[in-house]
Symmetry: C2
Subunit: 384 residues, 2 copies
Amino acid sequence: MREVVIAGVGIHKFGRYQDKTFEQLGQEAVRMALRDANNMSFKDVQIAFCGHMHGGTGAGHRVLSGIGLTGIPIVNVETACASGATALQQAANGIAAGLYDVALALGVEKMPRGFMRMTSFPEWQMLSGLGVNPVGFALRATRHMALYGTTEQQLARISEKNHRNAVHNPYAMYQKAISAEEILNSPIVCYPLRLLMFCAPNEGAAAAILCSRDVASKYTGKPVTVAAVHTGVARYGTSQSASGIGDIGLSTRIQNTEITVALSQQAYETAGLGPEDLSLVELQDTDSASEIIFYEELGLCPPGEGGRLIDEGRTERDGDIPVSVSGGLLSKGEPTGASALGQIFEVTLQLRGDAGPRQVPGARVGLCHVTGAGGNAAVTILKR
Amino acid sequence: MREVVIAGVGIHKFGRYQDKTFEQLGQEAVRMALRDANNMSFKDVQIAFCGHMHGGTGAGHRVLSGIGLTGIPIVNVETACASGATALQQAANGIAAGLYDVALALGVEKMPRGFMRMTSFPEWQMLSGLGVNPVGFALRATRHMALYGTTEQQLARISEKNHRNAVHNPYAMYQKAISAEEILNSPIVCYPLRLLMFCAPNEGAAAAILCSRDVASKYTGKPVTVAAVHTGVARYGTSQSASGIGDIGLSTRIQNTEITVALSQQAYETAGLGPEDLSLVELQDTDSASEIIFYEELGLCPPGEGGRLIDEGRTERDGDIPVSVSGGLLSKGEPTGASALGQIFEVTLQLRGDAGPRQVPGARVGLCHVTGAGGNAAVTILKR
């Protein structure tokens, strides 16, 4: 298996863009990635994978037809909130196997109106009020509070940290610091989670150009190695076959989401690295409680000690294991198909030392984690 | 790169099934493929790729949650009419590269109402009447008639042959012989193409379980080797970026569809085989003229001689290069995401010698070809 590196990354700022098409969002990210890869010609790209959730038929084809008509295979891939990571994985696998030297992984999303309904929660969940994401997140949060004594103050501190980090990220939707007090005074959506403890579904795009180490010097002076990328579906994530995928979210959220534990262990093993080697982590902080729970599931601390991690400031940008230095989903928002590659964008800049005022000094290894609807999840480890 | 073989195949008869869900169609094909692979346990499958065009978010997850909850990565892939071939390709690549030993490729489709409109033809094409498939097919047919003297009789003979073949295929939607005279007396849809010269968009599913040659003996006594699978997008297939994908079909249909020529040449080279080695071919006979044109583009005869091939009976089941012995799309119909794997199902049975009354005696090598919306295309070569 050949070593795979990231030659270039690009992004379209996450936000809401009524005046822009799906294609325009994606094209901006791809053009930026090509420029970033030493002005690579699109002719050098041998295959493209486009992750999206709501882009419709031919999503990647429509985006890339505005970049170049080169006749390469364009494969649209969908694994819900992990779609961008699946695009990255398929691109990396093809290069590792020697099938291609250069591959593009792209993620794009424009959220349709009423998309919460589109996730097809079963009728009983809708009627019971369980059929929307915040309810599942809140159940998971209260369970963590009951088991481990996690506090509302800790939840507020997570959101405070991530919003403070985002002030320095020009690609985040919200670039405004918010105090823990403001967060604790914001309206309750579903106890214990308040409005300012949630990420916003939004729009955007991100792209990464991958190549084999052998040809990397042509495109970049600062190659970042894809040390591991593992994807999977929560075992009990798809427990009601004919009812759509919404029920998954719920069932996996109430339980321990074993899939994150399993995939991170696989990724550490593949990379030959452990949690102690990580310089930074970007994870699926769709809400404050999720960040605390994923600290534990990713092995950053033992089970039940996630709250202490934020209390002790260890996941701050200047802590020993910075988490969500980009501002996380809480500040960037979550354009589902693009989200995972947005994390790859951030960690690539960090490992190159190019993250400006939000740089984690001396970053050498970064982990990206996504999970969501359909029980889909992915863990990627990058290193310089 | 490791040798990849087909361990099992399954299908849900193509047709129209108002009383069955998308999930049920897919599950029937997967269960049949598992049974066919020596009653393989679904636990042995390490990754699944689900090709579909209109299945919505989590399509493969919804299907496979009814088969088993094993936590494997499930990747939904979409390349329009080539989606099933892309699923096959990604599964084969992963095995060839040593990432997996056993992978599932699945294709499923339920056609939505009004799907022709969903392909997003640009407004000018709709207004001009060019915005529906039969018009593009007819333009391509008349061009072939003008250039090479192809006749209406030859077009009728293609459809007559394929419907005659389908009488012996229990998985075809239409299993009824139709005479050339009936076909020539059927209503003109768009000159020169008549109602009985078109395939029907419909529903169905097909699946193939792939494994490395090393483990094949556990699952099958008649392994069929995936000798080559190449996919791509027509260079001028996506010429109007923001307008959707429909325009592609039109532009590629009026021109020579270079993509079929390119991919078949690549596939012959990869397989170390040529057109003269083929025992049978399944191709994209969405209409009678397409079959004649693809004879030429796949190298079965020189340009312009496709009409002669049918006149001389060479593509009949007892000819020297049988084409569409399954009945082709003209008799089976085209459930877009499933169509390519339906061809793989047929050719696998043929190469095993298990095709019953439609068996091509002594079949050793088969080629499958799909192309369509988005300029997507694929050529696969299987051998025993």
